[in-house]
Symmetry: C2
Subunit: 339 residues, 2 copies
Amino acid sequence: MPKAKTAPTLEDVAKLAGVSTATVSRCLNSPSLVVQATRDRVQSAVDALGYTPNFAARVMAARRSHTIGAIIPTMENAIFARGLQAFQEELRQHGYTLLVSSSAYQPEIEEEQIRNLVARGADGLLLIGHDRDSRIYDYLAKRRIPVLIAWSFQADAPVPSVGFDNRAAMAELANQVIKLGHRTLGMISGVSTGNDRARLRIEGVQEAMRRNNIPNDRLTIVETPYEIENGAEAFSRLMSRQDRPTAVLCGNDVLAIGASRRAKEMGLRVPQDVSVTGFDDIELAQITDPGLTTVHVPHREMGRRAALELVGLIEKPTESCNVQLRTNLVERQSLGRPG
Amino acid sequence: MPKAKTAPTLEDVAKLAGVSTATVSRCLNSPSLVVQATRDRVQSAVDALGYTPNFAARVMAARRSHTIGAIIPTMENAIFARGLQAFQEELRQHGYTLLVSSSAYQPEIEEEQIRNLVARGADGLLLIGHDRDSRIYDYLAKRRIPVLIAWSFQADAPVPSVGFDNRAAMAELANQVIKLGHRTLGMISGVSTGNDRARLRIEGVQEAMRRNNIPNDRLTIVETPYEIENGAEAFSRLMSRQDRPTAVLCGNDVLAIGASRRAKEMGLRVPQDVSVTGFDDIELAQITDPGLTTVHVPHREMGRRAALELVGLIEKPTESCNVQLRTNLVERQSLGRPG
């Protein structure tokens, strides 16, 4: 008995037109975004196969702009670049376009940009970290705009997140520093107000000290914005103290690069005279000399997963998600035993 | 005689409300972007002073979204990051918000993103480089969307630009390389198809050779996407040639970092055994060891000027602009005399 003829699918149209299913989806839902020649090719395939998209799905999709907004704290220093690139690539596979804004780490600019992206018709938003006024989440909930947090995982937070445990990741690194014999520590942190990643990384260092019975006053913390030059300045301040730290843990690789450079300028050898560690494992960490011991954050994987989850929140609003990713310690040359 | 009382200005409102003029402008033109508390404060000041915005200006402004779109080839490697950050900061001073897309150096993705930003109501667009299908410029002209090109200055191009002369900048660097005695050159270039910056930098090297009577066949060019790893691979290919170049000019700093790293891995000293140069002067150029001799591009100035000019094109469409910025050679340690 011959198999019953089934209705043509989106995949059939894509195959016949010689384009991706994402392109077919864009042609049907947001034709103005697609070049005329491609539109014609897809239309011919639709006509030839007699393809009829599922009606309910069509109505839902027609209300969408297929545009996702992401607001990152900064475009500089490539901290968010790799993750965002992967986020965009994965979104594209699903027929979505990405628009990015940068808030310069300022809550009032972030709020303005959230309102602007909603006004411009974004279907969903990606935000970095959990710390922000609850009024913003109310605003987005009222407008039914799905929002996903990245770069920070919190199982009990009111909004879903794809991220990692900043506290545990930093505690693991600090534990390794202490295991090598360091007892007087310095920390160059990002500004922790309104930045849960920075705050949790400080807590991670403190947790490791507690676990190893090192009194709290053996740690000196300097907070400064994430810029290479600020890392250098903060390092000078730490080194001018009577009880110089033998290891300086930095809130991210950018600050650590600044600290290492200043050490060199001061005639201090890393790690023989002072150890320096980073966080993130951006490309700089590998290129700088000595190579930076740091926490590897799976940026590409985080971006890709965030895209999948956010598309899920938009297209299947009843499902919820929370994805915790693992980080791992990368040991290069900048961390050694105290001299 | 007492001075005639003049009508209250935008500045007066800003002063009384204790906010910037940009914020007042946003409150009047795009109130949904402003937090309620600020809106209330501005409205009180407007009422107290009896401020009436110029009617014609109001009508024009009301049609605007106060959103600018920028499409850059990549968010990775921080090539465009610094310029874009300055672009955004200056736009904000004028009450505009920035949305950024990345095209992954693919013309069809760029076209899709242009259409999306227009569909989302962008008042104007910033694009990188001049090379693209004229159909796109027709599309934008028909919709009266002002467009400005950055990173590449061309006085005779159909659209205005804020940029620099990529050919002359690279010719100056190549001339310096030749002056030091190098006669067999290698070049690691970005992919030149659809990228006028890459193409013009190749032409710059060729021009310097011609000027110094060095035959064309003394230059070997490898084209590859702008990634550190690709720079390393291309360097290996150049070094495996019978007539090894004594100097390798790279299309940007990212490729040069890759080349330098591979030189180190091959046991070659830079610059004693082989010279390596970059282009852009991103932060990496200074941090890498040895420091990279490169062309300094005034990224912040370019971003700031681009914002001023694009706002001008939107608010005073009769005026046209073309801004050429100067680059300059930065001599660090990676370029020396042939060994």
